[in-house]
Assembly symmetry: C2
Homo-oligomer: 381 residues x 2
Amino acid sequence: MDIEDTLLMIPGPVKVAPRVLRAMSRPMISHRSGEFGAIYSDCAGLLKQFFETKNDVVIMTGSGTVGMDAAVGSVIGKDDKIVTITNGKFGERFTEIGERYGKAVPVNFEWGTPFDLEKIEAALEQGAKAVAMVHNETSVGLTNPAKEVGKLARKHDAVFIVDGISSIGGNEFQTDDWNVDIAITGSQKALAVPPGLAVVSVSPRAEERFLAKSAGYYADLKAHLKSARKSPAQTPFTPAVPLFFALQEALHMASEEGFAARRARTAKQAESVRMAAKALGIELFPKVDELSHYSNTVTAMKMPEGVTDDKLRGGMKKQGVIVSGGQEKLKGKIFRIGTMGVCSSGDILRTIQTLELVLAKEGRLSARGAGVEAADKVLGA
Amino acid sequence: MDIEDTLLMIPGPVKVAPRVLRAMSRPMISHRSGEFGAIYSDCAGLLKQFFETKNDVVIMTGSGTVGMDAAVGSVIGKDDKIVTITNGKFGERFTEIGERYGKAVPVNFEWGTPFDLEKIEAALEQGAKAVAMVHNETSVGLTNPAKEVGKLARKHDAVFIVDGISSIGGNEFQTDDWNVDIAITGSQKALAVPPGLAVVSVSPRAEERFLAKSAGYYADLKAHLKSARKSPAQTPFTPAVPLFFALQEALHMASEEGFAARRARTAKQAESVRMAAKALGIELFPKVDELSHYSNTVTAMKMPEGVTDDKLRGGMKKQGVIVSGGQEKLKGKIFRIGTMGVCSSGDILRTIQTLELVLAKEGRLSARGAGVEAADKVLGA
């Protein structure tokens, strides 16, 4: 098996379309040229549609984390409080970043369980300059109620920062309608670009509250906004030019499909994985309530009893299908299938069929083909 | 003219070899796989040879600046002093970063003029936790005496940070012999990879002096070292996978040529540009002394009298050859030709010939072909 000839079904980096890979391999151009500026501006315009926002967006070279880092570090100084809501690994990352620059006030929920809005409001009532949350907790496959937290943030006059890294473009995400002051995504998720770019939208309201000097030098939203507003548009530091080529091509692909159509397709695809899991007697990991829902970009499932991570994921990898395991405290307890970007029905069916093969080998499959049938029923609908 | 079908002769991003572009366009793989770890480790091993060091190296996703940011932010806290030596734009960047995290003590020299070691020592005598300098000032085409500053740093017990971004792999650069505690390079220079990766080497001596918490979250050398030492090697945050594919291929290309052979070729190529300039009556911009020398990776020349930046660079671009102008206070006063990485003799001759054409059009060429002849004489030797 060649690792580059496998089916990548992890929640990022996701499969990249051949035409995007080809665009990415163009010869270098100067990053200070009008040509680069035109690419930046074209991407920024399409990203605004992707984010459903009128706010400015900046494109930074780095992982999604550099966007989270820039968001918190541009707003939170030594004496500022930031409420960080956690129910998974990436929520905890906001707490770590908040502690690095100011005072984090974590509101913790068990990994994979819904937010309790009353607890969040109680924390905000103590006064905070910002509140940060993860919209789609990649680590547990749960989508959190950003709209409702956005209302609380506005009510308590806090800058609302949302990690939309594995969400924007896959799940519904309305930056402006939900009062999201700073929204972040990464290139390797629903955009279906290789990893290496973070995209950050900034509301005028957030910008007014920026620190005079942001905490970080590289991760400084003020510097990125200033450069992006130049004509031609620029970046403050040398950008990863090939990833901009790829981003532009991928945004055009998404735009051809239609941003809303892509979100609807992504939702249907995740539903097909959930139905397959149900048919195979595999339990979904996250708990949901009326405000949170199963993620449309990543499905987290409990490891079937008596099956080890090595047997399940190792067995699938041997068949050329790569899925993710649990992170940190969930290692060996769950497995995750990513379905976003340019994932196809065929990709999903092959994944479920491979899962069935592995379960059969472990004596954990009751009815052969039941998972594929259930998935196909949703996908064909 | 298609911008992707031009000859890129700027001091980074530089031309990328077709085989590196092809390697870069491979399908995505998981960044948490053993396969990615093997690529990271292979690159790190070759980079140690590139850096002439036994120190650990980490590969960060971001521009070279994220490496400078991480270096200073991992060592310099609020009350720490850092001596920053400047004779160009990138030296000034160290001052900005130093001021962001601690107390910068700038030792400023006019852009493009040599260091005065006595002034540097006088600053170090006041006590400083670190001293930072740029080895090859890309903005002015001058290579500064790192070895000598390294001796002063050691004598005064300061962590020695060197921006080797446009230098390492092109100019002579002996990380260990010169006592460089933290050396930084960027992928888009002598490595001839597209931009988007910073490489940083860290001595045990620097690591001992790391802050308990580095200033930045994303730009945190401690986190990068910790992940790089895992087996398989990892990155703390999702890496730009395609740029790692490209880096590995480019390092193998450089290793096939031989790192020392590449440096010797690069030196000869810069010499050929200087000789062409001389033959064309164009003055080199930087002033040199016995310790500093003309850069082997970028040649900065004064704009010929009566010729505007627009006529010179714009005219060359019309012929498909892209060279750089001056930055900030040097805008319109100088122009720069980069010659590093996989730049060929043919590339240089085409560049000089195009420069001659433009000069002729402006009535500033005395003897047609004199520049090409002078360059060829050096290149053919």
